[in-house]
Amino acid sequence: MKLSVSQRLWVSGVTAFIGIGSLLVVGWYSSSSVSAALANSQTIDVIDKKVNDLRFANEEVRLASMDVIIDRASKAISAERKATLDENTKFLKNGVPTIESFAKSAGLNIDIASLSADIDQVVKSSNEKLPALVLGGAPEAEFDKIDDEIDTTGGRIKAVLDIVAKATSDAQQHEVDVAVSQAQKSALLQFLIGTIAVLVAGGLMAWQSRNIMLGLNAVRRSMNRIAKGDIATSVDGTQRADEIGEIARVAETLRKATVEKERAEAAAQEARLSVDRERSENETERQRDEEEIRRCVTILAGGLARLAEGDLTQQIDDPFRADLERLRQDYNAAVARLSAVIGNITDQSSSIHSSSVQIRTAADDLAKRTEQQAAALEETSSALEQITITMQTSTSKAEEAGAMVESTKAQAERSTTVVREAMQAMERIESASAEIGKIINVIDEIAFQTNLLALNAGVEAARAGEAGKGFAVVAQEVRELANRAAGAAKDIKQLVARSGAEVQTGAELVTATGQALRAIGADVVKINEHMISIVNAAREQNAGLAEINTSIGQMDHVTQQNAAMVEQTNAACQTLNEDTTRLENVISQFRTKLGMSARAQGERPAVHAHTPIPPRAPIVSTGFKPAIAPAQPGQRPRTSPAQKLMGRLENAFSGSTTSLKSPVQSSGQRASTQASPSTDQWEEF
C-alpha cells in the first residue's frame, strides 16, 4: 500500500471522525424518541384531569338535584343552586368531544352516542323538568320518579367516565415505560460504538506513525553518513512512494553530484601533467627527423642517376623512415616493373619471329593447294558440259512422252462416248422385245378364242348328229390349228424372254467397259501430270547447271586472286622478320637482372633472317596445319549455289503444276538475277 504521509494522517482523522459522528447520531436518535414518549404522556395527563373534572361535575349535578328535591316544599329554587346546575351541566356537555377523541385514539369500546344521550337527559331533567315540578308543586310521586331518573342516568355516566379514567392512567404508564427502555438501549449502543471507534482509530494511528518513523529514521541515518564524509554508499528508502521517498531521492542526487565533481577534478590534474611531458619529447624528435630525411634524399638521388643510365638491376635495400618508406617502395616497384616489361618485350619479339616463319610455311602450302584447286575446277567444268547435253536430251524425250499421253487421253474420252451409244442401243433392243411380247400375247389370246369357238362348233356338230359329222371334222381341224398357233406363240415368248436376258448381260458388260475406260482416262491424266513435272524438273536442272557453270568461273577467278595474295603474304613475312631484329637491338640497351639471356635471344633471329627462304618453294609440312582464320564480323553466312540448285529440284518434283507455265523463261530470269549478288559475295575473298 503506497500512501503519502498526508494521506496516512487523513486516514486516521477520518476514522476518528466517523466514530464520533456515529456516537452523535445514535444519541440524537434516542433522545428524540424519549422526548416523543414524554410528550405523549403529558397529553394523556391533560385528558385524565378533564375526565376527573367531568366525574366531579356529574356528582355535583346529582347532589344539587337531590337538594332541589329535598327543598321542594319551598316551591322555589335558590339562585345559587340554579347556577351550580347550569355550570356543571354545561361542563358535562362540553366534555363529550374530548372523551370521544380520546376513545377513538386509544381504541376504547364505549358508546359515545348513549353517553351523549344520557348527559342530554340529565341536563334536561335537572334544568327543565325539576324546576317545573318544584315551581308547579307537583305531587310526591313525580318527584320520586325524577329522582330515580337522575340517579340511574348519573350512575350510567359515572360508569363510563370510570372506564375512561382507568384507560387514561394505563396509557400514561405505558408511555413512561417506553421512554425508560429507549433510554437504556441508547446508552448500551453508544458504549459499543464508542469502544469500536477508539480501538480502530488507535490501531490505525499506531501503524501509520510506526511506518512514517521507520522511513524518517532510515533517511536520517543516511544523511548523517553523508555528513560524516561517506559518499560511496547510496541513500536508503529511495524506492518509497511518499514524501520521505522523495527526500531520500533528492539526497541521493546530491550524493551522486558530489561523487562526479571529485572525479572531474582528479582527471584535470592528470591532463595537465601529461601535456608538459609531451612538449619536451617533441623537441628531440624533430632534430632526428631532419637528419633522416637528408639521408633518404641522398640515396634516392643515386638510384635515379643509375636508372637514367639504363641500369635496371639496382634496388634500394636500406629501409627509409616510416613516412618516406613509400617513396623507396615505389622506386623499387617502378624499377622491377620496367625490368619485367623489357623482359616481356624481349620474349614476345622472339615469339613473333618464330610465328612469322610459320606464316611463311603456311603461305607456301596455300599456294600449292590453290594450284590443285584450279586443276580440279577445270575437270568439273568439262563434266558439267556433258551433264548439260544429257539433260537436254532427256527433256525432249519427256516432252514427246507428254504429247503421246495427251493423245491417249483424247482417245479414252472418245471411247467413253462409244460406250454410251452402245448402252442406248441396248435399251432400244429391250423396248422392242417388250413390244414383241405384247403382240405374242395378242396372238395367244386369239388362239384361245379360236379354240373355244372350235369346241363350240364341235359341240354343235355332235348335237346335229349324222348331219354334223363333216362339220365336226372341220371344227377339229380348226382346233388343232389354234393349238399349234398357241404353241408357236409360247415358243416365241420364251425366245423373247431369253433375248431380253442376253441384252441385260450385254448392257452390264458395256457399263463395266465404260467404267474401265473412265479409270484409264483418270490414270492417263495423272501420268500426264507426272510427265509435266518431269519436264519442268529437267528445265530447272538446266538452269541450275548454268548457275553452277557461272559459279565455277567465279571460283577460278578467286583462285587466281588467292595465288596473288600468297605472294604478297610472303613479302610481308620478310619485312616482319627484319622489324623484329631491329626491335631486339633496341631492347638490348637495357640492363636487367635477366640481361644476359635477353641479349643472347636478341642475336638469334638475326642469324635466321640471313638464311634466305625461296618463295613458293614446296615445303613438306609435317603435322603443321595453318590455323583457320576466324569469321570476320562483316561476313554473312551464304548458301552455296549447288545447295540452292538441290532445293529448287526438290520443289520441282513436289508436283506443283501451277508454277510450270513457261518454266524456261522464269528460271532463266532467276538465274540472271541471282548471278549478280553471288559474284559480289564471292569477290569479297
Binding site: 389370246e445 384361245f448 359341240v459 355332235a462
Partner: protein, 154 residues
C-alpha cells in the same frame, strides 16, 4: 339318259377337261356352249361351290366350281379357265373348269364301271372310267352331281 346312250350305238361323244391334276369328262349332248371365264355375281346363302350368277344372253344361270363340288381345292379362275354351260334336266348350269382339253368319241365298251371299293353314295357321281393310252378319265354323272342339289335348292 343312260339307256339313251346305250341305245345310241357303239360310239359315245365326250368332252374332257382338267380339274387340278385329274382329268374328267362329260357327255357332249349335255353341253350347250363353252365360254371363256367372266366375273360372276356372288349369291348369298349358297354352298361354297356355288360361285354366283352370270348373264348368258339375257338368261341368268348359276356357276358351280366343279373342283370344289367334287371335294378338291377351289379353282383359281384365270383367262384360260372356261365355263361349260350344261343343260341338266332342262335347267342351264355353268361349270367352272381349269381347261377344256379335248373332244373325242369313244366306244361304249371302253367305258368301264367304277370299282366297288368306292361307297355307293359317292359312286353315283361316276358313270364309269374311260381308260385311254396315257391316262384314265372319270366320266361324271351330271344328273347326280348337279341335279340333286338343284332340286334341293328349288
Amino acid at each position: 339318259m343312260t339307256n339313251a346312250i346305250k341305245q345310241s350305238g357303239a360310239y359315245l361323244e365326250i368332252v374332257s377337261f382338267h380339274l387340278g391334276d385329274q382329268e374328267f369328262c362329260i357327255d357332249i349332248m349335255a353341253i350347250r356352249e363353252i365360254r371363256g371365264w367372266a366375273p360372276v355375281t356372288p349369291m348369298p346363302h349358297t354352298p361354297r361351290y356355288v360361285l354366283g350368277l352370270i348373264n348368258l344372253r339375257g338368261a341368268v344361270i348359276p356357276v358351280i366350281d366343279m373342283a370344289c363340288r367334287l371335294g378338291m381345292p377351289m379353282t383359281e379362275p384365270s383367262e384360260r379357265s372356261a365355263i361349260i354351260v350344261t343343260d341338266i334336266k332342262g335347267k342351264l348350269v355353268g361349270l367352272l373348269v381349269e381347261q377344256v382339253s379335248d373332244m373325242m368319241s369313244i366306244k361304249s365298251e371302253d367305258l368301264q364301271p367304277a370299282p366297288e371299293i368306292i361307297p355307293e353314295a359317292q359312286r353315283a357321281f361316276c358313270r364309269g372310267i374311260v381308260a385311254l393310252e396315257k391316262n384314265m378319265v372319270c366320266f361324271l354323272n351330271l344328273d347326280t352331281v348337279i341335279a340333286d342339289e338343284l332340286s334341293m335348292a328349288a
